[in-house]
């Protein structure tokens, strides 16, 4: 909806590790953090440092945005891409990408990653989930045993 600043042709994104990505304006539309920065400028090229995102992660995010911004791709092709995209990720990748999505203020990508993480932990054990998010229990063993007993039915 917002009229594009036609003057900007290429956007350079610089990741935390110094790696550089050159992308077209339509690719960063979903990244509200970047977009609001661009909107305030009126120049031909712009380079934006993203100190909270690693190069590898940024490469994946750009790949995702390219696929989803494309008008030629069918809905099915995009869904298949999403499936493969999540499949090749490790747990840590998902958690980092979720944080990157939050930092870049990318709403639909954030929801996509949250969903992928939810699917990975669903119906795993409490211990697994603690490990996954690096959470240490602050319940005493007695408190935890009590809580488990109270909700025994949910563990069956």
């Amino acid at each position: 909806m917002a009229a594009e600043k036609s003057s900007i042709k290429i956007i350079t994104l610089i990741a935390a590790d110094g790696s550089v990505f050159e992308v077209e304006p339509n690719i960063v539309k979903e990244m509200k953090t970047v977009q609001s920065y661009i909107d305030e400028l009126d120049q031909n090229t712009v380079s934006i440092p993203l100190p909270n995102v690693f190069g590898n992660d940024l490469a994946m995010i750009i790949e995702y945005c390219k696929k989803h911004a494309s008008e030629e791709e069918t809905k099915e092709a995009k869904e298949e891409f999403d499936f493969e995209f999540v499949k090749r990720m490790k747990s840590d990748d998902k958690l980092r990408l979720l944080q990157a999505a939050s930092y870049l203020n990318m709403e639909s990508f954030l929801q996509f990653m949250a969903k992928a993480i939810a699917a990975e932990i669903e119906n795993q054990s409490v211990e697994f989930v603690r490990d996954y998010f690096q959470i240490e229990s602050d319940f005493t063993p007695e408190e935890e045993a009590e809580l488990r007993k109270e909700n025994e039915w949910a563990f069956k």
């Binding site: 958690l95 979720l98 944080q99 669903e122 409490v126 211990e127 998010f133 602050d138 039915w153």
Partner: protein, 384 residues
């Protein structure tokens, strides 16, 4: 069904050890992102996850989180009431709704009905936000969220049960006051010198209070006894009511916000000779099933309150060998299959192919009452 063969580490200590090294590159997730993830998980699993740590426990039991989770929750279940033989006690079973539209045999989970129901007649009124409402012997309403196993019994209506008198319940949510309300309509016979006619007495119980309040009576007609319950849609309760001139039907609608009535017009059947009607809710729209001799039309009021928005969504022919009409349209799947109840049996109708299927549901024979509910964390036990 639930294989929770998760990676069991030898001890908690050794696992935290490996995570510290990992943690160098990965700062812990901010809590708002944890919320994003947890709001997408099934209820039963979230109940388990209360054991993770104290902050997760308070999150999962927070009513605000329950609301957020409800907005995300797409999981729906079919609940079926049946009776045991020969003792005729109530059995409540649930099935994942999605499996009804596939070839897979739906696996039932029996729910622990919270009351001892010997010698009672229980009736399912409806469901809203994962809470099921039951009426017991027409005088007591029970609210029960089977996903979290919490229930509350409302105070009794205390009406003397007279011959020819019946009470119809309804259950819904008013988002202006953020409250759940149960409505009871008691219909009784009244006489004057020349005539006998029906009157209504309407009461509302707001969840969290401890009494019933009388509101204005029906502006016209009385709700049809066999329609069983008022239908909640769009912040309103709707009844099919017959006026004293017995052939005339109207829809009486009660707005739960200001508790005022409105009459809605029925669809224009376009020359079809309609034998009878039932009212329901389908795809979040008010729904009328109109029966002719050989088929049923499923009408949806696409825009609530606008009579011009009545749309004939499906025409369902009567199934071979089944003479009686469909009594309830329960659900429409993503690929436009409609789940119908017909003579205590469930059937799915695929309108694009014109074909029927009987969902493979185990061990259900004889009398049964189906209802759809959404999985939620919303508690029916409200503290003031």
């Amino acid at each position: 069904m639930e294989e929770t063969t998760a990676t069991k580490r030898p001890s908690l200590n050794s696992s935290t050890q490996t995570l510290i090294t990992l943690g160098d590159s990965l700062p812990t997730l901010p809590f708002e992102l944890i919320i994003e993830i947890l709001s997408r998980l099934p209820v039963k699993f979230l109940i388990q996850l209360q054991c993770v740590c104290k902050s997760w426990k308070s999150l999962i039991s927070d009513p605000k989180f329950a609301k957020m989770h409800l907005r995300m929750s797409t999981t729906r279940h079919l609940v079926v009431l049946t009776l045991t033989k020969p003792s005729r006690s109530l059995i409540v079973k649930t099935y994942p709704l999605s499996s009804l539209f596939t070839e897979i045999t739906a696996t039932a989970t029996q729910l622990a009905y919270p009351l001892n129901n010997d010698n009672q007649f229980e009736f399912i009124v409806g469901s809203c936000h994962g809470i099921l409402c039951f009426a017991i012997d027409q005088s007591v309403a029970l609210l029960w969220n089977p996903s979290i196993r919490k229930f509350t019994k409302l105070p009794s209506l205390e009406y003397p049960c007279r011959l020819g008198c019946y009470t119809i319940y309804a259950f819904g949510y008013d988002h202006f006051s953020d409250t759940y309300k149960v409505v009871s309509v008691s219909c009784y016979r009244s006489f004057n010198l020349t005539d006998c006619f029906f009157k209504t007495k309407v009461k509302i119980h707001t969840l969290g209070t401890n009494s019933w309040r009388r509101i204005q009576d029906f502006p016209t007609g009385v709700p049809f006894e066999f329609d069983e319950s008022g239908k909640f849609v769009n912040g309103t309760i709707n009844w099919l009511a017959s006026t004293n001139s017995s052939s005339l039907w109207v829809i009486v609608s009660l707005n739960l916000k200001d508790e005022c009535y409105q009459e809605l017009l029925l669809p224009d059947y376009g020359g079809v000779d309609v034998v009878t009607l039932t009212i329901g809710v389908l795809s979040d729209c008010l729904c009328i099933l109109s029966y002719s001799d050989t088929f049923s039309d499923v009408w949806l009021m696409k825009e609530y309150g606008n009579k011009d928005s009545w749309t004939n969504s499906f025409r369902v022919p009567f199934m071979e060998g089944v003479g009686s009409p469909y009594t309830k349209a329960l659900y429409v799947s993503e690929d436009d299959q409609v789940l119908l109840e017909c003579d205590s049996k469930l059937v799915t109708y695929n309108s694009s192919h014109g074909t029927f299927k009987t969902p493979r549901i185990q061990n259900i024979k004889g009398w049964m009452v189906p209802e759809i509910y959404q999985e939620s964390l919303i508690s029916p036990c409200f503290q003031q």
